[in-house]
Amino acid sequence: MDIKVNVRQGPGDCYVVDLSGEIDVYTSPKVKDAIGELIDRGVYYLVINLEKVRYIDSTGLGVLIGGLKRVREHGGSVNLVCTNLQIKKIFDITGLVKIFGIFDTEDAAMKALV
């Protein structure tokens, strides 16, 4: 019932945010802070790895959308790594598949970033 957030530098200007656990109204502020901190530091290319996320709700989606919005203001982008079918379904039915790049592997998400 908690979230773990791990930030690591990828190739080039890109950073990877690993999330694991459940993203809901209780835990999403932690995710928001981690992403916000990166953007404050001038990181505008992000891969957010959701492979170990078992659960995401609208507040979690809101945090991702908010992050995307902020990096786009600087010409950046956010790609997601997601293999969980239930979570993919959520991105699908909300239409968010159309605004995020969603990939099965971190490698693919990274390559598609620029």
Binding site: M1, D24, Y26, D57, S58, T59, G62, G66, K69, T94
Partner: protein, 148 residues
């Protein structure tokens, strides 16, 4: 020790949970709903749908500025469906009175929550009592024969 397993597919079960209307308790609400959904042998996907709908309903209560102190969750199985009721004791209609309105992005995300509930559940209805709070009823129907 002779009660075991007998009521596994009982026609009607009812579980009620009352939690403080704060973020840290939402996970328990979704666990309770999942435990009830589990009894009905819904598919794993359908159980996830119910968990998300309950989560969104509780979150909506918590983020409403006049939410009451508690959220009351009632999960009931019938031979045809899982019925989930989320009740809060918050006053309605006073939205905005205290100044602090949602900004447009927050409203969009709240809208997203409502959209998810409507998409994931088969029937959704509201019952708003201005002073007594809001009752949200969500129904997940069982495919024929699924009840056990």
């Amino acid at each position: 020790m002779n009660h075991a397993v007998e009521n596994e597919n009982a026609a009607t079960d009812r579980v009620e949970l009352r939690i403080p209307s704060r973020p840290e308790w939402v996970a328990l609400a979704r666990l309770a709903a999942a435990a009830v959904a589990n009894r009905l042998r819904l598919s794993i996907d359908e159980i996830e749908d119910v968990k998300l709908a309950v989560t969104e309903a509780c979150t909506a209560v918590i983020q409403h500025e006049n939410h009451g102190d508690f959220i009351h969750l009632t999960c009931e199985t019938t031979p045809q469906a899982l019925r989930v009721r989320v009740h809060d004791s918050g006053r309605q209609g006073a939205h905005g009175e205290n100044g602090q309105m949602m900004d447009l992005d927050e409203a969009r995300i709240a809208g997203l929550g409502v959209f998810l509930i409507r998409t994931l559940m088969d029937e959704v209805s509201y019952d708003v009592h201005p002073q007594l709070g809001t009752d949200l009823l969500m129904v997940k129907r069982l495919a024929a024969g699924q009840a056990g």
